[in-house]
């Protein structure tokens, strides 16, 4: 992992998303699908944490060698700023970060399930899987047509692709999980990868458990550092020996994680749980009644 100042080669809209391509040869060289970068926001802003983004695409050869693309949904102050700065400006980037997706050794039929920008790391994964001679099928979901992630690219990459939008404005109307069972059957999926909102990942986890399919999911959790320093990105993860769990760091032990080991109910919680005193050893609220 390194930190560099990268020139922005291009910055443009792509449907509902904004795409930025950086000149980042050292990061591109090492990047694997499922890894991410942390992008600094500029000095003098009232927020100062970096923003994490999936590495969507890297070019290691050809005219674009050494470039890296990421896409995002401009939703808050940080992404709004990123959507505005133009080409040729410099971004302070750390990457590649985290543990990427593992490639299956023996199995060959891979089903990639995503919603929204979750497709970003999975398209990258699809390239790598295909390069390793695997079969790739994709289920791509989104709220509406605008949010369907690079559909042409998807079609190019997948053996078969199902595009599902909630409002039916593109492809099938519904939820991506509606099409997953049939696709798994038809494609003879032997392993499943997923990225997107945690509800999707949980559903994929349940589906794979039912079918006894190995799977990996790309986890997003609030990250103060993305580097493994702060423990804010904890995900409750079963120990390998099955005895209990630990809160592991999504940024280091993930983001690509085994959904069968995630304690979904604990992670996703229900109602926010006010921590009694002592929470598990730290004061949170003093005068919590009762």
């Amino acid at each position: 992992m390194i930190r560099t100042r990268c020139e922005i080669l291009s910055s443009k809209k792509a449907g509902a998303y904004h795409s930025i391509t950086l000149v980042a040869p050292e990061i591109s060289e090492k990047a694997r699908p499922g890894q991410f970068i942390e992008v600094a926001v500029p000095e003098g802003r009232r927020f100062f944490l970096r923003r994490p983004f999936w590495i969507h695409q890297v070019s290691r050869r050809g005219g674009w060698a050494g470039t890296l693309e990421f896409l995002f949904d401009p939703r808050g102050e940080g992404t709004a700023w990123l959507a505005e700065i133009g080409a040729h400006r410099l971004l302070d980037v750390i990457g590649p970060l985290g543990r990427g997706f593992a490639y299956p050794k023996d199995l060959t039929a891979c089903l990639l399930v995503s919603v929204g920008y979750g497709a970003a790391p999975l398209y990258f994964l699809a390239e790598e899987l295909k390069a390793r001679g695997k079969r790739v099928d994709m289920a791509v979901g989104a709220a509406d047509q605008e949010h369907v992630f690079k559909p042409i690219e998807g079609k190019r990459l997948a053996q078969t692709i199902s595009i599902v939008t909630q409002d039916g404005s593109f492809g099938i109307r519904g939820r991506v999980m509606d099409v997953v069972p049939e696709m798994a059957d038809k494609s003879g999926a032997e392993v499943v990868y997923a990225a997107g909102p945690r509800e999707l990942l949980r559903d994929v986890a349940a589906f794979c458990r039912e079918r006894s399919l190995p799977a990996q999911v790309g986890i997003e959790e609030r990250m103060a550092c993305g580097l493994g320093l702060c423990l804010t990105c904890a995900v409750p993860y079963q120990r390998v020996d099955g005895k209990g769990f630990d809160n592991v760091r999504a940024c280091v032990e993930g983001p690509a994680m085994n959904p069968a080991r995630i304690l979904w109910d604990r992670w996703m919680g229900g109602e926010p749980q006010m921590v009694p005193t002592p929470p598990e050893g730290f004061p949170v609220v003093r005068s919590w009644p009762g």
Partner: protein, 323 residues
């Protein structure tokens, strides 16, 4: 004086730091994470995450939220417990090759004492830092640091048994701050770390939920820097001979220099690590440049030199204008 090359070393009455810019507790990981980004061997030192007697899993996520120029967070003191810490974390920290302070936590005087006891004689520990923001169960979870008696009890008990120097980490949010710091030092604390983060809360108005799953959390980062400077100033005036480590919102050399001028002997960098893992290096280099500019020779020359009150007359010592 001109011509003398300034040095960065700091002597905290026997605890020597190569530079005055350490990493604060809970902001460094295990020593291996920064590989490729920065050489932490060039930092002034590091405080480990707070370690308790038993492992603590920590609170649910989300554990962090951004606030104006601040970070609100709580991990619920997640840590593997002192045993695992000694076995698998400490060696990694020690390998970095800089002074390692081990932060000790607990919910009773006994727990602080037992953890401190287990640290004795272990290789690679330069000092112990008592995290007095921990909840005192006997007082319904109030931080030990919030009142004189419990703070002194913890620090006194730790100091009596510890061969390692003990730093008491206090927080600015008590009116008794100066008295507590003074009493801690009398009770045997080798030094004071000041200030821990402030209690804060942020609520998502869309969902009516606190942004932190645990409800409230701790506020750190540039937002609290002026509070830390004031706290350091107050304490340093009262007990100028006790080593004082300033912490709170240090991003750049200038922030650290403010703390030194206010009376700190050294500083810790916390939240700034997350956006800029090079921060402790840049802070140290910035201090060096500043010393050169001012014709001073060591960080200690800045200590408590903020100009307040009657004009200082200290003939011979370099003044703020450089001579």
């Amino acid at each position: 004086m001109a011509g003398v090359r300034p040095t960065l070393g700091v002597d905290l009455n026997g605890v020597r730091l190569p530079t005055p810019a350490m990493v604060a507790s809970g902001c460094f990981g295990t020593g291996r994470e920064l590989a490729g980004l920065v050489d932490p061997g060039k930092f002034g030192g590091v405080v480990s995450q707070t370690v308790t007697l038993k492992p603590v899993k920590g609170v649910a996520t989300s554990r962090m939220a951004e606030t104006p120029s601040g970070l609100l967070w709580t991990t619920g003191l997640q840590n593997p417990g002192v045993e695992v810490f000694l076995g698998s974390v400490l060696p990694g920290l020690a390998e970095v090759g800089i002074p390692v302070f081990v932060s000790v936590g607990g919910t009773s005087v006994e727990e602080f004492v037992r953890v401190t006891a287990l640290l004795q004689g272990k290789r690679g520990i330069a000092a112990v830092e008592a995290n007095l923001s921990c909840p005192d169960l006997e007082r319904g979870g109030l931080p030990f640091s919030s009142e004189l008696k419990p703070a002194v009890e913890v620090v006194g008990a730790m100091s009596r048994l510890s061969m390692l120097p003990v730093f008491a980490k206090l927080t600015a949010d008590t009116p008794e701050l100066v008295e507590i710091a003074d009493a801690c030092s009398r009770a045997g604390a080798h030094g004071i770390t000041l200030s821990g983060p402030l209690q804060g809360m942020s609520i998502d108005t869309r969902t009516f939920r606190p942004r932190l799953a645990a409800g409230t959390g701790w506020l750190s980062g540039p937002a609290i820097h002026p509070v830390a400077v004031a706290a350091v100033f107050r304490v340093a005036r009262a007990i100028p001979t006790v080593p004082l480590i300033g912490v709170g919102g240090v991003q750049e050399a200038e922030d650290a220099i403010e703390l030194l001028l206010a009376g700190a002997w050294a500083v810790q960098v916390g939240t700034a690590m997350f956006a800029n893992p090079q921060a402790p290096l840049e802070v140290a280099q910035g201090i060096l440049r500043y010393l050169k500019d001012k014709g001073l020779v060591a960080p200690g020359d800045l200590r408590g030199r903020v100009r307040v009150g009657v004009p200082e007359r200290r003939g011979g010592t370099a003044g703020p204008e450089g001579g």
